[in-house]
């Protein structure tokens, strides 16, 4: 424990010296998120500096081994680091699919050369990754994917189309599921890493019902990929794909926690109080029920973390959290729209505040929460089969 306290003191001093003051303020919007990568435009110089310093220290990936650019911290040290970051309200230095999804599976499945090549660049935010999973014909049935990967002796040749590739138009590299054997389903999938600057790669943004989106369609036409870019063994990609989905779902399930605008404030402003309680009693009861679920969700996250620390295996819970988190966020968005009344009917213009427009756009965007990263239905299947042991045949 004495070591931890020493570590806390060092960390505090380092953050004091290295975290620019403007990086100790809340982010105004998603515009302030730092995604890194070769073409990224930083909103300001401090956010660039903050990323460089954190990246050099390895603290964007605190528990990854130092050999691969990480911070080499223990779980306990990481907790100290997080609490110190929180203490000064430091902004998250890097938002990255590489950190959240690809890195953890590379650590587990990649060979030494691949780890040495890719992990440090993820840590430092030099390379921005996108996820090539879904296809027009392979959504919930992801393993039905058809993007073809042929062995051409000294390289792989890739042809096909991906969809819902978040930020593909801004990404430097893509981790991609491809079909290397058409005679079998799950056992014919491989996991490859593709440089998005390769000849034959094309991206096209997708506009959503909320007005915009980070999603793209990605086309691969006779794209040549070096042999060394396959992670794991040939036709062994499905296991890696599933593991990565657990990380993704854990990440998306975070939607359930950090609320921004508070539905109670919106209701107080737009519905009003009567005898000290919200005038719309029916809405009030549903808000209270929602707030209870929100609390229950946060408590359950904490309980799962404590159980994980005690050595329990809680990875199978990712699907449960994904479903509950998505449901919770959608419920909150619906309640905010209802509480805002006609103030939530705006689409653009000066007659509505940015917050009001945000409620409307956020509500529309939230409809995707139960689709992206595995639909609620698919995740309920996972809970039923893997957690509860319910199967077609016993």
């Amino acid at each position: 424990m004495a070591d931890l306290e020493a570590f806390r003191a060092e960390t505090r001093a380092w953050l004091e010296a290295n975290c620019p003051p403007s990086m100790r303020t809340p982010m105004a919007s998603e515009e302030d998120w730092v995604w890194g990568g070769r073409t990224f435009k930083f909103a300001n110089a401090d956010s660039k500096l903050w990323l460089e310093r954190m990246g050099a220290k390895g603290w964007t990936a605190p528990t990854w081994p130092k050999d691969y650019g990480g911070g080499g911290l223990s779980k306990a040290e990481e907790a100290v680091l997080q609490s110190e970051l929180k203490r000064i309200q430091a902004r998250q230095a890097l938002f990255s699919f590489g950190l959240w999804m690809l890195g953890p599976v590379l650590l587990e499945y990649a060979n030494e050369e691949q780890k040495k090549e890719h992990l440090p660049k993820i840590v430092r935010g030099e390379i921005r990754w996108c996820q090539g999973y879904s296809e027009p014909g392979a959504g919930s049935d992801l393993a039905g994917l058809q993007t073809k990967c042929e062995d051409k002796g000294d390289h792989w040749l890739i042809n096909g189309q991906k969809v819902w590739t978040s930020y593909a138009d801004q990404a430097d590299w893509c981790f991609c599921l491809v079909r290397t054997d058409t005679s079998v389903k799950h056992e014919g999938i491989s996991f490859v890493l593709i440089d998005m600057t390769s000849k034959g790669v094309e991206t096209r943004p997708i506009k959503l019902i909320s007005g915009s989106s980070p999603f793209c369609e990605t086309f691969f036409t006779d794209v040549k990929v070096p042999k060394e870019n396959m992670v794991g063994r040939l036709n062994g990609g499905w296991e890696i794909a599933k593991r990565l989905l657990q990380y993704e779902r854990t990440n998306i399930s975070g939607f359930g926690s950090g609320a921004r605008l508070d539905v109670v404030d919106i209701a107080k402003n737009n519905v009003g109080l009567e005898d000290g309680v919200l005038a719309d009693r029916d809405l009030r009861a549903r808000i209270a029920a929602h707030k209870m679920t929100e609390r229950a969700y946060a408590l359950t996250t904490q309980r799962a973390q404590e159980e994980a620390k005690a050595g329990g295996n809680v990875s199978h819970m990712a699907s449960m959290f994904k479903v509950a988190g998505a449901t919770l966020n959608q419920e909150r968005c619906e309640l905010m729209v209802e509480a805002a009344g006609n103030r939530a009917f705006g689409w653009a213009g000066k007659n509505y505040t940015p917050e009001e427009l945000g409620v409307t756009r956020g509500w529309l965007r939230s409809k995707g929460n139960s689709i992206e990263g595995g639909t609620t239905e698919v995740n309920l299947n996972v809970v039923a089969k893997r957690v509860l042991g319910l199967r077609d045949t016993q």
Partner: protein
Amino acid sequence: MTFTLNEEQRLLKDAARDFCREQAPVTRFRKMRDEKKNGRDPELWREMAQMGWAGIVVPEEHGGAGLGYVGLGLVLEETGRTLAASPLLSTAMIGASALVLGGSDKQKTEWLPKIAAGEVVTALAVDEGAHHSPEKSKLKAGGAKLSGQKTYVADGHIADLLIVSGADGVYLVKADATGVTHAELVTVDSRGAADIAFENAEAEPLNGGTKLIEAILDRARIGLAAEMLGQAQEAFEITGEYLKTRKQFGQVIGGFQALQHRAAKMFTDLELTRSCVYAALDALDRGAEDIATWASLAKARASDTLHLVSNEFVQMHGGIGMTDAHDAGFYLKRARVAEGLYGGAGYHRDRFARLHDY
């Protein structure tokens, strides 16, 4: 706040599970029901007292174990699993809490050792109408005499000592005192209860006034939520086993997606509620200031979850679930009583909102 159990709590939980499985399985409840005992199983209560459960939250200087509310909650959860019929909640949770929180030194010395030894059964007389509304009590105390009506006093038909809420505070009334009249209620959950009338009955006030009523009620609500969690968990597990074994259309019905998704949602609901119940028990042991919030959270969530799971218990069992020979009905009947007792989900959502100023 923590969800991690200490060694004592783990041992208590394991012992409670073994005891309930071996000494108080549902077959024991069924026998009590068949013999029309209306909740009476004094032998079971004696055995529980021998396990030390009656005195879990009673301080050591008064003959208890001083183990705290998390420990008692874990035991209540296990008794909920097998529907063990006993005044554990009424006595070990409610009666002991009332005296620890509001008793004078003399009252504590008089009653707590007897409670801890299981020699005295207590019951909380709070409701005065068909619905829970403790803040509207019409019960008046003139001097040391109490007059008024109480409805549906859980364990009121077997209690020796009544904890009675009034318009201005909480009173102790001996069940056999002059002016106390019981009407025993034969109840749907086979646990029994009583309507109790007081006419100039001799009463001793506890310290704490109306604040004490809420403090006692919040402990009752959290303890009951723990019992309900156990009931819901057991109902869910029995249902899960049935889904894995019952065959129709040439396959186990657990393979049908319509049932799989409902089972997965029940599981999620149970996990969320479990966190609320454990957090509320922990809040009691921490001496948290916002106990009212924790109690309403735990009781509302437990009520909703048990409502859902008890209904699905019957539905997913199909015809057999409707028969008296199956246990599902016992869980369903107890569920509705427990849901309403000390305030249902609607009552606690209202209270939760009020506590958060909206």
